[in-house]
Amino acid sequence: MSGQFEILRAGPGVTVQDLGRPGLQRFGVPEGGVLDRHAHHAAAALLGNPPELASLELLLSGVQLRASKGTLQVAVTGRPGSMTIDGTRVPPLVVLDLPAGSTLDVQPGADGAIAYVGIGGGVTTEPVLGSRSTHARAGLGGLAGTSLQEGDVLAVGPHTAVSPGRTIERPPVDPGPIRVVWAMHAELFDDCVAALDQTFAMTAARDRMGAVLQPAEPIPADAGLQIPSAPVVAGDLQVPGDGRPVALLADRQPTGGYPRLATIIGADLDRFCQLPVGAELTFEVVGLEEAVALHRAHRRRLETLPQAVGVAGASLWGTNLISGITVGDEEPR
């Protein structure tokens, strides 16, 4: 019997996401899909889900959900805030049982922007154009083409339970510069090197389509600079007239008419998307060969995540995972 859960409370950025719908950019449809691929793949690996199954993406948001049918297995990855099941603290990055009637509460994190609630069997909304990914702007995918709301009821697919307590190491947080390669319009800027060689801040103007960065100094581009609309790729840093670059992300419009300065490398997109509002960042230009090598290594890491799953020792987070969930010296449930 497949399970079901109900949303009791959701922040504005809770959506069903999978690996997206690549191949439709020529029809004006963005690829979409999860913003932090590593975190989504980690949740899938923990639960024994194929990564193509959908999870809940929490972008600058928390969620409270209750299992309403069957015992669900969940694993929360990325950068969540504190988490509880029926009021008792539970850790991220570990498989947790959520019996029918139990409530999982995930708070938004302070040191990151995105968390994933993976559910064994995957969230099974109706696919649109081959994917369950939610593209809210055009009302595609997810549940009714929009972010999840209180009262929404969702189903999960069939799932063979795995051992609760399966865990995976938290990836180290890399505080270094975000690496980029030059984009095709870099030479159209007055001084592309100087433009990138400064400190930027992640603004609150960010969503699944893109993130506006506040530069220390606005980036000048020729007044009236007009380039013909051309296809864009994930990670492109587009600079409109106000001189503040916009990083284009999963739900970006497939074409853009503003000049592109540089492109965030594939290997650093997950890390970029996790930057919280207000975070300062710098960029480092790398050569194409290095960027490609890093991208390939990143992809291989995603594919070998299932091998990185282990079983927690009983003392790892002070939880007793054999006879129930405890934290510290609380009584076992």
Partner: protein, 239 residues
Amino acid sequence: MNPTVVPAGDAAAMVVFGDDLDLELNDAVLSLERRLSEADVPGVIELAPALASLLVRFDPLVTDLATIEDAVLEARSGPDDEAPAPGRRWTLPAAYGGTYGPDLEEVAQSLGVTQDEAVTEHASLDLRVLMLGFAPGFAYLGLADERWNLPRRASVRPAVPPGSLLVAVRQTAVGGTTVPTGWHVVGRTPAALFSPTADEPFLLQPGDRVSFEPIDGGTFEELAEAARRGRSVARRRSP
């Protein structure tokens, strides 16, 4: 006309034919797109043609920029490499002016003609789908002559209905979803350009030809109702 191939990030290549709005450049893009598609290069995830450039996205674990460059050279070495395959020809009914096209009057004024004359002129255009982008099913059609090289409006309308005919910079854009726009809204077609659950979700593809057929408001409402019920309202013409 030889394109340049430049990297677009580390997992895509951009084949650039030029940066002008030019039907010949667009011909070259669409022709290359067709040939590359037929070549079925391993590792290519998608081809996205635009006005004068073509994006080739690929899987970096399977292929690389050098292989794509070779594939582009190979595709362009065949005979007749500037002539794209003929696309389908469509007639789309469209109601002009009034609530369907609040900017028709100002467009007519810019052209120095009456609204009726502007409609007749627009409906006589034999337009080509240059590219899709911006939103699902959103097509850029062109090219009208220099008189239609109207600049974008000073302000943006936050939401225009699907099927709105938008004109600016010698092009007509028409889409399948509600979109914001800075272009001039001159009319609306009841045809569905984007049906996400249909077998063929996208009515138009790059290289198709389109012309509009003026209809009145009553006919618009009838056809819109038919389209809502899944009937096709666009007419396919024989080449």
